[in-house]
Symmetry: C2
Subunit: 336 residues, 2 copies
């Protein structure tokens, strides 16, 4: 292991064996529609509540992930997951149904990458042969829980983000594959004192920049060492702030920079500043981005997943919005 | 590492360098009063909301922990924490104030031990020199969030548990000390279909038994190999079920068995079936139990922290209550 502190360069191999994604109808009609493994044609996913719908989403992403490698559940040592429901109940119920040893995680919309980093540590430390990770979010759950019941028809501001209905799952092991997990940096919680829950991109951009700068510094890399630098869900507003903050540190992002929240919806889809939610980076990275790595279109990717660590209670109590960002690097391997 | 699956026997040393606890007035008046590092004399902890009071509790536990070893915050590589607030916001705000790299965890009242297991994996894997962990709960936060506003004066049943106002923090490193972390078992989510949130002890007992049996089996140990087997917060009702379930597996618990939820309040304290909450096992284990190990009164302790993975939404939607239990073993070391 190269560093004893927040950045880890994995000394033992950690590979992505498989991944699976499942999304709702809006995401399935967007620019990345060809990349998702499963698209639900309605937001209820055949269930009676948003919470049950999100469970179905996460399970479908996991099933798609396992199916690709013909892996049965009893070959897996550990399940690491999280979601945005109060007390992360979607992940807990899915863990119950999987009957796997379970580690519950939470870092808001950065949860997918927190789980993947923890899984990588397990594989790198030879503590498990196969680790399954998952993260999800659902528009209906989040609107109800963090904002207003949709029936109120409260107007959104242009800087607001739309919670992605989506889930992503990854199967990790030390067995060689085309995608290797090579580095990771654990985020610190950054709070610039913003109070407006319609400005989450702006609240998260400083955390994303801080983690990116730390990762580049600790690994002695430049932004140009990666074919793609991808933030989680800063969306349009936050992405511009992120670019500016990196420039202040001497890092100039050009066409090799994208944001999952911007990528997931088309401009005609009325998605305000873009997508957010733990399912946003999960469904974009574990689908579209992994496909591009496997196809040889990308060789080195740095993902900086971002999370706004608020709750409806902290917002109502006028607490500022702290944010976190975790980074993970993927590299293409060709063993043919 | 002895096992590649859910049970880990740490091959490289992991030691408890220090621990700190802080509790509310009721806990501070109970049978363990001499063991806590800090007792608040009112439930508000000098703050204006229950949520801010819980933040103060967690910070005080951390300060007490660091103070004992004269450790400054900048020698610490990682902070791992969790709590019962929606979106674990208490931990996130404390992480913001500490400015440490942060991993957010959640497994309800088993969070203290989930965080400690993750920290042990970091130290065992030589990924960090010092890891700080913390967990907390607050009576006011939990009553409001999971049950009813206290002003409603809803009657509690005798099987109900009282949320502990308390926090515990641990500092881990590889440096030799009197308490070594030797083994851990990750819990699976068990759900016996119970629907009554006043019967959490009963809902959690099967998970506690499942983890205990798995841990003993994987480590080739018997209950008599430990001076103390300690469950998290099964309380009176759940403890009896746990004893019975272990008997069915051929394990007979005698006087070397206790439950943190039973220990923390005196019978005269009107605490119904006993204490619960992420701060329950944290304040009992990281205070009283560690003190007993250091004093040489206990040599080998197995803690099975228990968590009920419900939310107010899952209860209202009539979902059954899944539960989890994580186990960790401590052994006394004498280097004098």
């Amino acid at each position: 292991m190269g560093f004893t502190h927040r950045t880890m360069v994995f000394s033992k191999p950690v590979y992505i064996q498989s991944s699976g994604t499942a999304v709702g109808p809006k995401e399935g009609a967007g620019p990345l529609k060809g990349s998702f493994d499963y698209v639900y044609d309605d937001l209820w996913c055949g269930e009676k509540s948003w919470e049950l719908a999100e469970r179905a989403l996460m399970k479908t992403a996991i099933n798609q992930c396992l199916k690709k490698r013909h892996k049965s559940i009893d070959t897996i040592d550990l399940f690491i997951a999280g979601d945005l429901n109060n007390q992360t109940t979607v992940s807990s119920y899915v863990a119950r149904d999987l009957q796997l040893p379970y580690i519950g995680t939470y870092s808001a919309c950065a949860t997918s990458i927190e789980a993947l980093i923890l899984g990588s540590i397990w594989i790198n430390g030879l503590l498990a042969d196969h680790v399954l990770t998952a993260a999800s979010s659902h528009y209906g759950v989040c609107e109800k829980q963090f904002r207003f019941p949709t029936e109120f028809a409260v107007q959104k501001s242009e800087s607001a983000q739309l919670t992605v209905t989506g889930a992503g799952s990854v199967l990790l092991s030390k067995k060689r594959s085309q995608i290797q997990v090579t580095e990771a940096t654990i985020g610190r919680v950054i709070d610039f004192g913003l109070l407006d829950a319609n400005q989450l991109g702006a609240a998260m951009a400083p955390a994303a920049a801080e983690t990116t700068v730390a990762h580049l510094s600790k690994t002695n890399k430049h932004v140009s060492d990666y074919d793609l630098i991808l933030t989680g869900d800063l969306s349009k507003t936050g992405s511009e702030i992120y670019r500016k903050l990196l420039r202040e540190h001497g890092h100039y992002l050009s066409k090799g920079y994208e944001d999952c929240g911007v990528m997931i919806y088309g401009t005609e889809q009325k998605a305000f500043a873009g997508g957010s939610g733990a399912g946003c980076s999960a469904s974009v990275v574990f689908g579209h981005v992994f496909n591009q790595i496997i196809a040889g279109e990308l060789n080195r990717v740095l993902v900086i997943a971002t999370g706004a660590l608020l709750s409806s209670i902290t917002v109502n109590q006028k607490q500022s919005i702290p944010a976190i960002a975790h980074a993970i690097a993927f590299e293409r391997r060709d063993f043919s």
